[in-house]
């Protein structure tokens, strides 16, 4: 018997009651989390359900009958496809750029002492606290003064701008409390700073970087107000939806939302399955 096992044997109440209690305790978190995801995805469920609705008029709010038509003619609303493609492009590029810039800032803030640290923190928080409408309108003014043509690049610039803060704060949470000893050990073993960063630091903060990427992607793909002011003639998915809302959002919007979600989930699932297969292969060697 190991020391831990011996200790647990002497813990009070090691009978059936205690074991059931342990069972409950072990699984209450799982049950709770399942409920959480149910709550989180409930509106999505409604959206998915209504993508199969056959609305009599233009409003898709009351269930009126099942149909595959919306999925068959998902592309049937002019402008919808180009809107979602644009949104995905911007979200992808903006989240990558913002995460890179944000990670660099986070590293500097946590690892180094420098003048202007307070001001830097303030600068990071300010965009978060500025109402979107003034953020968008004041950026518009800047672009007008610089005589910039509105379109893809102005949208991208705006998105990177408001995503940086989110990336910084997310990655910072990981860097604070990061065990520097691991890096020191690597360097003691002969690695230089860059190798250490690449092989030790980066993999360890990878979850934070991924989380920042996801968060920035989500924010970017959903942004309406700032994009509206700086999009010129280009239409992103949220702009399209808000525009359609006046006359009635077509069910194809539900289809698109569902499809993106499904594709992302499938992609992640495939990733997991590949990992499992690899682990099995490695184990069986």
């Amino acid at each position: 018997m190991s020391a831990t096992e011996a200790l647990s044997a002497t813990r009070p109440g090691h009978g059936v009651a205690a074991r059931s209690w342990t069972f409950v305790r072990r699984h209450v978190l799982t049950v709770y989390s399942s409920l959480f995801f149910l709550y989180l995805l409930l509106p999505i469920g409604i959206v998915v359900a209504f993508s199969f609705n056959h609305p009599v008029g233009r409003f898709n709010y009351v269930w009126q009958g099942f149909t595959w038509d919306n999925w068959r003619y998902w592309d049937g609303v002019p402008g919808l496809r180009s809107a979602i493609v644009l949104s995905l492009q911007v979200a992808l590029l903006a989240s990558i750029a913002a995460t890179i810039l944000g990670t660099l800032i986070a590293l500097a803030l946590v690892r180094y002492g420098f003048r202007g640290r307070g001001a830097t923190n303030l600068l990071i928080f300010l965009p978060l606290s500025t109402p979107e409408i003034v953020l968008g309108a004041s950026l518009l003014t800047l672009f007008l003064n610089l005589n910039v043509a509105f379109g893809f690049w102005t949208i991208l610039i705006a998105h990177v701008m408001f995503c940086i803060s989110f990336a910084v704060v997310t990655v910072k949470a990981r860097l604070i409390g990061f065990d520097r000893h691991l890096e020191e050990a690597a360097m003691d073993l002969g690695a230089n700073e860059w190798t250490t960063f690449r092989k030790v630091t980066l993999p360890l903060i990878a979850p934070a970087i991924l989380a920042a990427l996801l968060l920035c992607f989500a924010i970017s793909i959903d942004d309406f107000v700032v994009t509206y002011f700086n999009s010129g003639p280009r239409i992103t998915f949220p702009l399209f939806v808000w525009g359609a809302a006046r006359i009635g959002v077509p069910p194809q919007v539900n289809v698109i939302g569902t499809a993106i979600f499904a594709i992302a989930v499938t992609g992640m699932l495939a990733n997991v399955l590949v990992q499992i297969r690899r682990a099995k292969a490695a184990a069986s060697v």
Binding site: L7, R25, L29, T30, Y32, S33, F36, F37, I44, Y61, L101, G102, I105, A108, V110, R111, F114, R117, G118, N121, L123, L126, P127, L128, S129, T130, P131, E132, I133, L135, S138, L139, T141, L142, M161, I164, V168, V169, T170, K172, A173, R174, G177, W194, P207, A211, A218, I219, I221, D222, F224, F237, A245, V249, V253, T258, F261, V265, M268, V272
Partner: protein, 285 residues
């Protein structure tokens, strides 16, 4: 690399440069123009002129004090709720997620793939007066017999909480994920209960995540207006709604600008108080 070695003091500045430059050009400069606008007077018809109109700030506070307070209130409650609701799930994903972690994280941001408007409309369906939720609450007498959820402050706060859950959950996950499980085991071997181990070890180590999540939730939530507009009654409107209307409907740019600054200052004051309470080093790393 050798360059960086010799100029070690430069490293933080080099890391900060790209991100801060981006924010400086695309946020600070527009913000400066906004500050300039906030001190103008006049109206849209005759034009605006800079006149050190500090009165704009006074009027903003005097006329819309209630809205400011309400916004901080709703944002504060929503943040607390988001924290309480998300923490167990972030814990569950971090410690029990295994290879499904990334997939679960994706599920958390999934609602953002369907735009804000569609999500909120789905909630209007879920919380409808004759819907399942309201009828259940009436049955258990949590809601009066003629009661409703929509067009109340409850719906607004619930909407804000829902929309900002990922902003809370992801940073929480990020800092929980890096906690070394052996620390918790050691604590359990030394302490009698898992609960104490959680309180004394896990919770403090996850504090950077808690702080990050709180900031990322509270700050933007205070400026939100969409939930109030769609899920609230006129008595539930937030300062974001007022700023929106001052800017767009009344084209009263000095008023909108000064109100935005008042909001930002209030938020920063709240953040400072919060930082003092949790200890500044945790906030700034």
């Amino acid at each position: 690399m050798a360059f960086l070695h010799r100029h070690r003091g430069l490293t933080p500045y080099l890391l900060l440069a790209p991100g801060l430059a981006w924010l400086a050009v695309f946020f600070i400069v527009p913000l400066g123009f906004l500050a300039y606008q906030s001190l103008q007077s006049g109206n849209f018809d005759v034009g605006y002129a800079f006149s050190w109109a500090w009165g704009n700030y006074w009027h903003a506070i005097r006329d819309y004090r209630g809205h400011f307070i309400r916004s901080l209130e709703y944002a504060g409650i929503a943040t607390a709720l988001a924290l309480v609701v998300s923490y167990p799930v972030a814990y569950w994903i971090a410690f029990r997620g295994g290879r499904w972690k990334n997939l679960l994280l994706l599920f958390i941001v999934a609602p953002f793939f369907v735009t804000y408007l569609i999500r909120t409309l789905a909630w209007e369906t879920i919380l409808a007066d004759n819907g399942f939720v309201v009828r259940t609450l009436q049955a258990v007498h949590l809601l009066g017999s003629g009661g409703r959820l929509l067009a109340t402050s409850t719906a607004v706060v619930a909407g804000i909480t829902y929309n900002f859950l990922p902003f809370m959950a992801l940073p929480l996950y990020v800092s929980l994920e890096q906690i070394d499980e052996s620390l918790i085991e050691a604590a359990q071997d030394l302490y009698a209960s898992r609960w104490k181990a959680f309180l004394r070890v896990t919770l403090p180590l996850s504090l950077p995540g808690v702080i990050a999540g709180t900031l990322l939730t509270f700050i933007p939530a205070a400026g939100d207006f969409i939930n109030a507009q769609l899920l609230g009654s006129p008595q539930n409107h937030m300062i974001g709604n007022v700023i929106q209307s001052k800017f767009l409907e009344l084209t009263d740019y000095p008023a909108a600008a000064s109100m935005s600054f008042v909001l930002m200052i209030l938020i920063l004051m709240a953040v400072l108080a919060y930082a003092r309470a949790v200890g500044t080093e945790k906030l700034t790393g």
